[in-house]
Homo-oligomer: 307 residues x 2
């Protein structure tokens, strides 16, 4: 048997989602200035890809109603890409007008979850994203995509991962540069992750895939290790685990960026992130949200990293 | 390459440490009756090995000063083994008098940590445990051992795992039936865990080894998956993550039993534990300690398991 971790990558890419996926699941409203300070702290920590907000209707996500204002307020350091979620070509136009060069689209591999979240069928949603990707191509913008509920759905339970595979194929064919397959409710376990990742890597190169894992049941890092071992090089995370889980108040949401970076650096895998500065960014998030955030390294503190 | 998880075991053994390692690191004092209710809830959930207390001096661990009274108050269901920590042959005698048939001894692979914790050198500690194991053999009792700070020490930082290996060799030679190698401060990452576990499995059969991992930085389950993949079949855990970390107030301690069981069952590995009942035991612990406990499944709740 080939030894475990015999072919670890020298470096992986972290896609930071706390200002968007994180804050949209927090009950506290963070001011535009607070969001700007969070994003700046994340960039100061070395994160190079940050999803800063969402251009969906403010009625859907009031926490992110200031997407334009936030995007306009941010400086654009060299080598840093800010992106934002968009629901359609109109959202893409707003993102572009606010200075963004990358957007993200999202749909579910569960028909029920997609209808409850987006009020469209999966096919209707894909048709909308064909307009988004066509318009993005004309404007020279990049589009990333999320496919959610791949590990399980709060309404349908188990979802056949071949449904997510077919949706991923459609998204890549229409021009998305990367699809982040998502354990939206954090139910995944490592053998299941092996099965899903192997299914996807049999058809797509690792560079077109990312893992977006929620840590609701503590398994996110274990699942990430499996993805890493199988070849995945792109992982989404949220500083201090900002986000929570809408289906279980108090429960953890996105995997914490500090925990991910701590583990990767411990394995000799570079991220470009400075961990003590990332812990500082997590403290900015905690101060903005006025609650104890679930990230483990966030809670243990940076002093503990010296030991 | 052999596929990941091609040779997962049908079943693993969980050694529950919440009443001892958990409570000794909690500031709240739990009454003997409360401890009894916790142990009974753990047994009702299907746990078969529970470390219920410690027969060290009450001056060292006042939270566990009622070890005799607790041990005497517990019924002994068939197939359930209760054990307790003992520091020396006198402690073994107290445990035996209270009706226990198994004890645990503990020392550190870091000389500094051992001196600060036990006020003896490692060699002096091993000499004491030779008396314990000899006496246990005369009495037909079983002795388990912990070797702590194997992944790192709060005083010395990195500790050469060959020191833990040599200590483990001595403990097994004197008659301990199993040595639980411990990431006492929860600094471990998966590649390091691979290196440590492979070092130990090169010399000892898996049945003589267990992993005792703290989740201070969120990596415990990822490390357990590595151990499982390499052949380890015995894991220590604490319901709801009871315990905390003495070096970082508010930080997580022992890996949560519910998270471990959730992950193992999701991988098709049996534990003999009923997860909803284990979640109930975690609620008993939370009610006794009057604080939010860190376990992720504990926080997400058992209702979420239906999805």
């Amino acid at each position: 048997m080939t030894p475990l971790f015999a072919e670890l990558p020298a470096e992986v890419s972290i896609y930071e989602v706390s200002p968007r996926d994180g804050l949209q699941n927090e009950s506290a409203y963070v001011t535009t200035d607070g969001k700007r300070r969070l994003v700046e702290a994340l960039v100061a920590a070395g994160l190079r890809r940050v999803e800063i907000s969402s251009f969906v209707s403010p009625r859907w996500i009031p926490q992110l109603a200031d997407a334009e204002e936030l995007a306009r307020s941010l400086e654009r350091p060299d080598g840093v890409t800010f992106s934002a979620l968009v629901p359609n070509a109109k959202g893409l136009g707003r993102a572009r007008a606010a200075g963004l060069r990358e957007v993200a689209v999202f749909l579910s591999s569960s028909e029920t979850h997609n209808k409850k979240n987006i009020a469209k069928t999966i096919d209707e949603t894909l048709a909308v994203y064909r307009e988004v990707t066509a318009e993005a191509a004309r404007e020279g913008m990049r589009v990333r995509a999320y496919v959610s509920t791949v590990w399980g759905c709060p309404y349908e339970g188990h979802v056949d991962p071949r449904r997510a595979l077919a949706i991923t194929r459609a998204l890549l064919e229409m021009g998305c540069y990367q699809v982040s397959i998502s354990d939206t409710i954090g139910v995944g376990t490592p053998r299941q992750t092996r099965d899903i990742v192997e299914l996807f890597l049999a058809e797509f190169p690792a560079s077109q895939l990312a893992l977006h894992l929620h840590d609701t049941r503590g398994t996110a890092l274990a699942n990430i290790v499996v993805g890493l071992e199988l070849g995945i090089r792109d992982f989404d995370s949220s500083v201090a685990g900002v986000g929570g889980c809408p289906y279980a108040p108090g429960a953890a949401g996105n995997v914490a960026s500090e925990d991910l970076v701590y583990m990767l650096h411990g394995m000799g895998v570079k991220t470009g992130v400075d961990l003590p500065r990332l812990v500082t960014a997590g403290k900015v998030a905690a101060a903005l949200l006025h609650r104890t955030l679930p990230g483990k390294v966030h809670q243990a503190g940076v002093e503990s990293l010296k030991a």
